[in-house]
C-alpha cells in the first residue's frame, strides 16, 4: 500500500527524489549516486529529454496490479513457485491460451490459476539479477530505476527505467534460476506427454512437446528475444503504421532485455474505439503477421492481446518477441502452395496434393477432395474471395472449433507437422484477435499485396503508404548500403526473390 502510494507520488511529481524515497532502504549513498548519474545524463541525453519523463510516467500509470506482499525474496522462492514442472506448465498454458476451445474447463482453470499464482520478485531480488547481469546495481546502470515492476512477464517481470543517456526504457528481468529448472523439467518427456495428452487431446503430442521444448528453451535466453526484436525492428524501420521498440544492446544480456519504452492504448481499450479505428488496427496487425511471415520468414508466436499498443490511425506498437518462429524456405513453400492452389488457382486437387506433401494430410486418405476442401476451407474463408469481409467473434470461434473437430472424417487423416505446430496456434490466435475487433477489410486484396506470387497493387490507403515505404527501403539500401552493416540484419529480400521465382507461373505449371 505504502509503496503504491509512493509510486503515485512519483508519477504525479515526476521527481527522482520520490523514487529515491521509495527506495529508502537502499541508503543515502546510493541515492546521491543515483541523483548525480541523473544530472550527468541530463547533460548528455538532451535528445530524449522531452519524451522520456512522460513515457516513464505513463508506464507507471499502466502498471499491472501485482501482489507485492507475496513477492519472491530469494532464488529458493522462485524454485518453489516455478520449479518442478510449474514453470513448464505455465508455458504450456501460455501456448494453450490461444486454443481455449480445445481445453477442458478444468484444465483451462488450472493453467490460468497457475499463472495467477506467480508473484513478482521483490525489489531486492530483481536488483540482484540486474547486478549479476550488468555488473552493477540498477540504480547505477540506469539514471532512474523503478524498483516496483510495471508488469509481469511469464518468466520474469518488467521494470521501467531511464537510461544514463536519457531514454525511457522497459527492462525485462528474468527470475533467477528459472532457466535451469525449466530446462530440467522439459527433460521429463513422459510426464509432459501425459499432461499434453490431457491438455490438447486431438494434437500430435510428440510434435507439440518437441516444439514446446524448443520454443521454451529459446525463450529462456533473452538474447534470442533481443535478436528477434532487432531483426523485426530493422525490417519495419520507417513503416507507416508498424512500430517495434528498439533494443538497447548494451543493457541486454541473457537474463535481462532492455528496449525503448512505448506508450499507447491496450487492446481492451481499443475495443471501445470507433469501428473505423479498430479496422485500421486490425489491418496493421494482419499486414504485420503476413509481411513478417513472407518477407522476414519469421512469425511472432505470441499474439496475446497484451503484446500490442495502439496509437490511433492504425498505428500499432508490437511488443514481446520471446516466441518467434523462423521458417526456412522449404517450410514456407508448402504454406504458399496451399494458399495459392486454393485461393488463386482454385485448383482443389493441387491444394490437396500440397497438403499431402507438407504432411498435413495423409496421402491416399479415403476422402473425397471435396470433403477435404470443405473441412479446411474455413481457414481460408476470409481470403478466398475478394470483397469486404467482417471477421466476427462467431467466425473465429468456428475456425477454432473446426480445428478441434474430432468428429470430422478428415481429422483421422490430418496432422500438424512439427514445424507448423506453432504457426497453427498463432493463426488461431490471430483469428481470435481480429474476431475480437469485429474487423472489416478486403482481406483478399490486402493478402494479394503481400503474397509474393501475386504482388498485387496497393488496395487501401495503408497499402499505399506501405508501398511507398517499401520503395524507399529498396532505394535507400541501393544508394547507401548503410543498413547492411547492422548485426542480425536480414530483411529477407534475397529470400523473397527466391520464393517469387519458385512461384512463378511457368514453374508451377510443371508441378506434379
Amino acid at each position: 500500500m505504502r509503496r503504491r502510494l509512493l509510486a503515485a507520488v512519483t508519477i504525479a511529481g515526476g521527481a527522482a527524489v520520490a523514487v529515491a524515497v521509495a527506495r529508502r532502504r537502499l541508503g543515502r549513498l546510493r541515492l546521491e549516486r543515483g541523483l548525480s548519474a541523473l544530472q550527468l545524463a541530463a547533460r548528455g541525453g538532451m535528445r530524449y529529454a522531452g519524451s522520456a519523463p512522460r513515457l516513464f510516467a505513463a508506464a507507471g500509470e499502466h502498471r499491472q496490479q501485482l501482489r507485492q506482499d507475496l513477492a519472491l525474496q530469494t532464488a529458493e522462492d522462485v524454485a518453489a513457485t516455478l520449479g518442478t514442472m510449474k514453470g513448464v506448465l505455465m508455458k504450456i498454458g501460455q501456448m494453450a491460451s490461444y486454443i481455449d476451445d480445445g481445453l477442458s474447463p478444468s484444465v483451462r482453470r488450472t493453467l490460468s490459476r497457475l499463472q495467477d499464482s506467480v508473484p513478482p520478485m521483490s525489489a531486492e531480488l530483481a536488483a540482484a539479477v540486474v547486478e549479476s547481469e550488468l555488473g552493477m546495481p540498477p540504480e547505477r546502470a540506469f539514471a532512474r530505476w523503478d524498483p516496483e515492476p510495471i508488469a509481469a512477464a511469464s518468466i520474469g517481470q518488467v521494470h521501467r527505467a531511464i537510461t544514463l543517456d536519457g531514454r525511457a526504457v522497459a527492462v525485462k528481468v528474468q527470475y533467477p534460476g528459472i532457466a535451469e529448472t525449466i530446462a530440467a523439467d522439459l527433460e521429463n518427456v513422459a510426464l509432459l506427454r501425459r499432461m499434453l495428452r490431457i491438455t490438447a487431446p486431438s494434437q500430435d503430442v510428440d510434435g507439440l512437446i518437441a516444439e514446446l521444448s524448443l520454443r521454451v528453451s529459446e525463450e529462456l535466453d533473452y538474447r534470442r528475444e533481443a535478436a528477434n526484436q532487432r531483426l523485426l525492428a530493422a525490417y519495419y524501420q520507417g513503416h507507416p503504421t508498424i512500430s517495434i521498440p528498439a533494443i538497447i544492446d548494451e543493457l541486454s544480456t541473457p537474463r535481462i532485455v532492455t528496449s525503448e519504452l512505448a506508450d499507447g492504448v491496450r487492446f481492451a481499450e481499443l475495443a471501445t474505439w470507433p469501428q473505423h479505428e479498430r479496422d485500421l488496427a486490425a489491418e496493421t496487425i494482419y499486414r504485420f503477421v503476413f509481411r513478417s511471415l513472407y518477407e522476414v520468414h519469421a512469425f511472432n508466436g505470441d499474439p496475446h492481446p497484451g503484446n500490442y499498443l495502439f496509437h490511433g490511425g492504425g498505428r500499432v506498437t508490437f511488443l514481446d518477441f520471446g516466441l518467434v518462429k523462423h521458417f526456412t524456405t522449404d517450410e514456407l513453400k508448402p504454406l504458399m502452395q496451399m494458399v495459392r492452389h486454393l485461393c488463386v488457382d482454385n485448383d482443389p486437387e493441387a491444394f490437396r496434393a500440397s497438403l499431402e506433401s507438407a504432411g498435413f494430410l495423409r496421402a491416399g486418405a479415403p476422402l473425397s477432395t471435396e470433403t477435404v476442401v470443405e473441412h479446411l476451407a474455413v481457414f481460408y474463408d476470409m481470403i478466398r474471395t475478394p470483397g469486404d469481409r467482417t471477421i466476427t467473434g462467431d467466425y473465429s470461434s468456428a475456425v477454432v472449433r473446426r480445428f478441434f473437430d474430432v468428429r470430422s472424417p478428415v481429422t483421422a487423416y490430418a496432422s500438424i507437422p512439427r514445424s507448423y505446430v506453432i504457426l497453427q496456434r498463432i493463426n488461431l490466435g490471430l483469428f481470435g484477435l481480429l474476431g475480437g475487433l469485429s474487423a472489416t477489410a478486403n482481406w483478399r486484396a490486402i493478402a494479394e499485396e503481400i503474397w509474393p506470387f501475386v504482388q498485387g497493387p496497393a488496395s487501401t490507403p495503408m497499402g499505399e503508404a506501405e508501398a511507398a515505404w517499401r520503395a524507399a527501403r529498396v532505394t535507400g539500401r541501393l544508394s547507401s548500403g548503410r543498413e547492411s552493416s547492422a548485426p542480425n540484419r536480414d530483411d529477407g529480400s534475397g529470400v523473397w526473390k527466391a520464393i517469387a521465382r519458385q512461384f512463378s507461373p511457368e514453374e508451377s505449371a510443371h508441378d506434379p
Binding site: R67, D69, L70, A71, E76, A80, G83, T84, M85, K86, L89, S106, R109, T110, L111, R113, L114, D116, S117, P119, A184, D185, N188, A190, L191, R194, M195, I198
Partner: protein
C-alpha cells in the same frame, strides 16, 4: 522403484465386508478441505502462527506424500485401524473421510484458537462414541484412548518430516525439533496428556520404537492400503500422477513398515527417480492450485508469513 505386488497378504482376507467406494472428487474435496481451514479474518494467529515451522512447511510440495505415508503407518496399529474401519464410514465414503481429516488438520494448523478448539472439541466428541472389539486381535478399543491418538499423531508428524527430507525441502535439525515441539499442542487438543507427547525428533523416534511390537498389518490395513495406493475412480490424469505419489510414499516408509506390508527392503531411490516424483508432485500441486479457493488460501498464509518476517 516400482513396488512389487504386496506379496504376503495377511491371513483372513475374507474378513472383508464392503468394497470401497470410488475416489471420485479426491483432489477437489481435499482442496476444499484445505481452503476451508485457512481463515480470512482470524481473531488470532492460532496455535502455531506465521512465524512457526508448521506454517513454513505447509506449502511444501511433499505434502501429499507425507499424508499418504502417514495413513500407511497409522493403519498398522490394529486398534486404530479397527476404529476407522468399523465406525468412520471409511469404506462407504473414503474421500469424504480423508477430506474431513484434511479439513481438521488445516483448521488446527491455520485457524484461530477458537476455530481450532471448536474443531478439536467436535473430534473428541465423536471419538467418545467409538468403541468396539478388534476382530483380528480380539482386543477392545476406544477412539478416545490416548495411546491410539498418540500413534496417529506421531505417524503424521514423523511422516511430515520424512516426506520433506526425501522429496521436499529438508528442515534443519533445529527446525525438525521445533516442528515436533510445535506439534505437541495438536496432540493435546485431541486429548493426549502433554506428558506423554514426544517433543523432539529423538523423543519421537523412541516413542515409535516403543510401539513397534504392537503393530501389524491386519486385513483391514491391507485393504485400505491397496485402496490408497491405487484408488479406483480417479480421473485418468490424476491416477497416473498418483502412481508417482504412491511410489514416493512407499520409498519414504521405514523398512519395518514395508516388511509388514509384504515389501522387501526398498531399492535405492535414484536422483532421477526422485526428480520424476517431485515433478509429478509439482503437477499435482498445480492441479491443487487450480481448485477454487486454494490459491487464495495460500496467498493469505504467505502474506501473513511475509508480514511476520518483516515485523
Amino acid at each position: 522403484m516400482r513396488p512389487a505386488e504386496p506379496g504376503r497378504m495377511p491371513e483372513a482376507t475374507q474378513v472383508t465386508t464392503d468394497p470401497y467406494a470410488a475416489a471420485t472428487g479426491l483432489v477437489a474435496r481435499s482442496a476444499a478441505a484445505y481452503a476451508s481451514g485457512v481463515p480470512e479474518a482470524p481473531a488470532d494467529d492460532g496455535f502455531f502462527g506465521p512465524g512457526s515451522v508448521t506454517w513454513r512447511m505447509s506449502a511444501d510440495l511433499a505434502a501429499p506424500i507425507a499424508g499418504l505415508r502417514a495413513l500407511l503407518l497409522q493403519a498398522l496399529h490394529p486398534l486404530a485401524m479397527a476404529g476407522v474401519d468399523e465406525h468412520s464410514g471409511w469404506r462407504e465414503d473414503p474421500v469424504g473421510r480423508l477430506a474431513a481429516t484434511s479439513a481438521y488438520v488445516s483448521v488446527i494448523s491455520f485457524g484461530d484458537k477458537a476455530a481450532a478448539e471448536r474443531a478439536a472439541g467436535r473430534v473428541r466428541g465423536i471419538h467418545q462414541r467409538i468403541r468396539g472389539v478388534d476382530r483380528v486381535t480380539g482386543r477392545p478399543y476406544a477412539a478416545s484412548d490416548p495411546a491410539l491418538l498418540l500413534w496417529v499423531h506421531a505417524a503424521l508428524v514423523e511422516s511430515a518430516l520424512a516426506a520433506r527430507r526425501i522429496f521436499g525441502t529438508p528442515l534443519s535439525d533445529g527446525d525438525s525439533d521445533g516442528y515436533v515441539a510445535e506439534m505437541v499442542v495438536a496432540a493435546e487438543l485431541v486429548g493426549v496428556p502433554r506428558t506423554q507427547i514426544p517433543a523432539s525428533v529423538a523423543g519421537l523416534q523412541r516413542y515409535i520404537s516403543s510401539v513397534l511390537p504392537e503393530l501389524r498389518c491386519t486385513p483391514a490395513a491391507s485393504e485400505s492400503m491397496a485402496y490408497l495406493l491405487d484408488p479406483p475412480g480417479l480421473p485418468e490424469d490424476i491416477a497416473e500422477i498418483w502412481q508417482d505419489v504412491r511410489d514416493g510414499a512407499i520409498a519414504a516408509l521405514p523398512e519395518w513398515a514395508l516388511a509388514m506390508y509384504g515389501y522387501g527392503p526398498p531399492g535405492p531411490l535414484t536422483p532421477g527417480r526422485r526428480t520424476e516424483i517431485r515433478q509429478a508432485l509439482g503437477v499435482l500441486d498445480a492441479v491443487f492450485i487450480g481448485e477454487p479457493g486454494v490459491l487464495e488460501a495460500r496467498q493469505r498464509l504467505t502474506s501473513r508469513m511475509r508480514a511476520a518476517r518483516i515485523a
